[in-house]
Subunit: 349 residues, 3 copies
């Protein structure tokens, strides 16, 4: 697929400097690009490569236009324009329509037009798959679940009974939707299982990374709103709610009944305990443990970054002595005050 | 399924206030329940909904009975009674018996009565499946593994060769049992694999969450005792032992040869290093790193919860200065003592 | 399989004390071993079992030879010798060659000699599988991926399109290779997906634990060099590079574009943020968060280990007061200096 540079400029609303007829066939990095490729310059660290780039065109901000030796698309957010141009040049792979003979599809399942059901996929009774969706090899969709139009379940995804997934979903391999929440009542040491009767409801345009798990609700539903983006290996417990366009990095765990607002970001490895409320536009840095609600927008942290082992040992030993240090500090203050008052008394005499 | 309230009261040993003939058909939350539903009141946060509930009955403690506008089941532990009543109203789904034609079952596999082997499931030579069990779509059970009666492997579960799982197990999608432990011997930089020759032995009534992994032992077995409950995305390394009725929340990692006692709880994201002993009734809060044995019952923590970013920066910078601060504190104490003794000397003169 | 002790001694270059004709058929622990078994003594904690061992032979260091009541193999690194002897006695399981009738293999896939394709495995167009490899049940290998000779994909492994895996790979159940990286450009709150166009390239002799995920690169490839060993539940983001013979324990997360050197070790639960460089021979202890580059060899840490809850509460409260404590300390120093100078003035007078 090749697109004229002028068309790309119109597609992203950028100012074109150079030849609008130049054919662009692919994207590449600024340092590796050759003829036919378009690249972008967003991170100043890469500015040193601009003078030598062999790309056919560079997407960049106004401040870099004069230093660009080739065609340029000038815009406010080069990375965003790059994402859009790349999306145009590399559309989602097309797929055939039909049901592979090795797939097992229940009679009452309703499959809309243009859907592909891959080898060894299994669809239960009452399942509905929206038009144009792709259900990859080894996916299991249990009874009464619904997948919206234009969705893609790559491979070995499991969607448990009664889950609802919106349009244009992208679920990577190993995703599990609608497994039982971890609901247990203690009975003198042993545990009695609390049946998990809610579902999972996922909006439109949600992407879910490889091996991420989202549990079904206990009584009402676990809810993931439209535009949410989840990375790999994330655990989302029962009755969690995640607001629109929130993005969560890999290895995050969110405990039961916590509500996360819209437009939030959670860094990798963040843990959020249960029954909290994190407001819209709250942001948490990597490996932070969140133990109380943060209703206000802001940036929150709670980790202790790596140090050389010797420094770290001193810091942890001292941390354990902190309470004692604080008490010694207070005693010193009292004694000093006494000395000073005596001294002051001396001065007075 | 509908059950008379009087029967539910007897089932959980609760005192019934109201109409024993009232038919209960479902459970719901106290705020959403309508006629035919039973709900519970355990968390004081929800007490405000009691006066307005439209449930047919509420399970509650004696202190709340007078404020209840509808039928009540009075008991000591409303959440436990709710779990039992919900379990009665919503039994595990029934399943047919038989082997789906797309399943691949080795000739020497022994399948007891009432078992269902789902589409595209694969059972190796010498596998034994106990009566009434459900092996869901895409599950792989390698040779010589045994699954006890009444168990349910939901979908895409993998049980590696020679694993032993007890009765009434519930394994959620993506669980892996019996993968090789991480056993390596260093040979001047490179690694020589140590064959993992032990197995995994799991007791009765164990629930294992989605995408949780349990490695086989190196020489002897990894052991999970009866009644253990594991949430999603947990990693259990080779030769770990977990005692009866211990419950572990999501994203926990337990390193090799560690022993965890009975009736313990580990919060989400806890990490336990290898070769430790955690005694019975030890409890660890979320994201705690456990680096030494804790043989005594108790509650242990080790995390630093989230702060607004500015406060956090100050705290981490200061933590690195702690050793210097401690030394300055000691110098101050010495100097002050000297001043005081001089002062004392002044007084004496 | 039984091997003479003399042959085992030669195999590992150990000094044999005892009967070279003694037949060894299995390995076991020093405390459980009986006739026919060989065991090893590496950890001094187990030395107490040496006098009573019923093993046919013990692999041990020179310092323990005199205390050994049975045949001994004396060498510098008993654990390494044990690994090699165990590997000889327990070779990788043999497998038949062929394609199970329930597997779905695209016409253009090229399968070399001695390969087994298991039940319900799915291989896309252009896939190549090297000689003697084993593709277990439920594995999905998307189009144009290549697996080197002598590799083993245990079960339910997913290899996304265009991934390249070297020889003698061992991929445990639930591994996902080549899923999309988490690439998003923000557009006024919403997210635009950045197509993930790179691949994953994995060297020879790489082992990857159950449910570990490795994302494909954004523009260029994610690269795992030969001899790398990855435990379970690890997340490796797009464009990460991991150098030769580095070993990473379970539950680690590595963010995008980070480079890790050769011969490194990362403890369980370590998190590494994006765009960092960790040099060769860097080592990170469990649950450490790495937020800056460490180019120099060394041992780095950043966690705060578990304490009894009461001690932990004091430490965390005090940590939040640290900045205030530091300021009070400085004030004390100033005031004391003033007092001392006054005192000094007194002395002078």
């Amino acid at each position: 697929m090749a697109v004229r540079l002028g068309e790309l400029a119109r597609h992203v609303g950028a100012q074109l400097l150079g030849d609008p007829e130049c054919l662009i066939e692919r994207v590449d990095t600024i340092q590796d690009a050759t003829g036919g490729a378009i690249c972008f310059l967003a991170n100043p660290k890469y500015r040193k490569h601009l003078a030598h780039t062999r790309a056919s065109a560079v997407i960049l901000a106004a401040g870099d236009r004069d230093a660009c030796p080739v065609n340029a698309l000038v815009c406010d957010n080069p990375y965003l324009s790059y994402a859009r141009i790349s999306g145009l040049l590399y559309p989602r792979p097309r797929h055939p329509a039909g049901i592979h003979p090795s797939a097992v599809v229940a009679q009452s399942a309703r499959i809309d037009d243009g859907v592909w059901i891959g080898p060894c996929a299994v669809l239960g009774e009452g399942v509905r798959i929206g038009a144009g969706s792709y259900i990859g090899p080894g996916c299991v969709i249990e009874r009464d679940s619904r997948i919206g139009a234009g969705s893609r379940l790559v491979a070995n995804v499991v969607v448990c009974s009664g889950s609802v997934i919106g349009e244009r979903a992208l679920l990577h391999p190993g995703v599990v939707i609608g497994s039982d929440g971890f609901g247990l009542a203690n009975d003198g040491g042993g545990w009695v299982k609390v049946p998990q009767l809610g579902g999972v409801v996922i909006g439109d345009d949600v992407e879910i990374g490889a091996n991420t798990t989202i549990d079904r609700g206990a009584l009402r539903d676990t809810r993931i709103e439209s535009g949410v983006k989840l990375d790999n290996q994330i655990q989302i417990a029962h009755n969690v709610r995640i607001g629109r366009d929130t993005a969560i990095a890999g290895c995050v765990g969110i405990a039961g009944s916590t509500t996360i607002g819209s437009n939030c970001t959670l860094g990798g490895g963040v843990g959020v305990v249960g029954h909290l409320e994190l407001g819209d536009n709250t942001h948490f840095s990597a490996q932070t443990l969140v133990t109380r609600s943060f209703p206000e927008p802001g940036y929150y942290s709670g980790n202790f970054p790596a140090l050389p082992n010797g420094e770290w040992k001193k810091a942890t030993v001292r941390t354990r002595q902190l309470d004692e240090m604080a008490r010694r500090l207070r005693r010193l203050e009292r004694r000093l005050l006494e000395l000073e008052s005596v001294r002051h008394g001396d001065d007075d005499t």
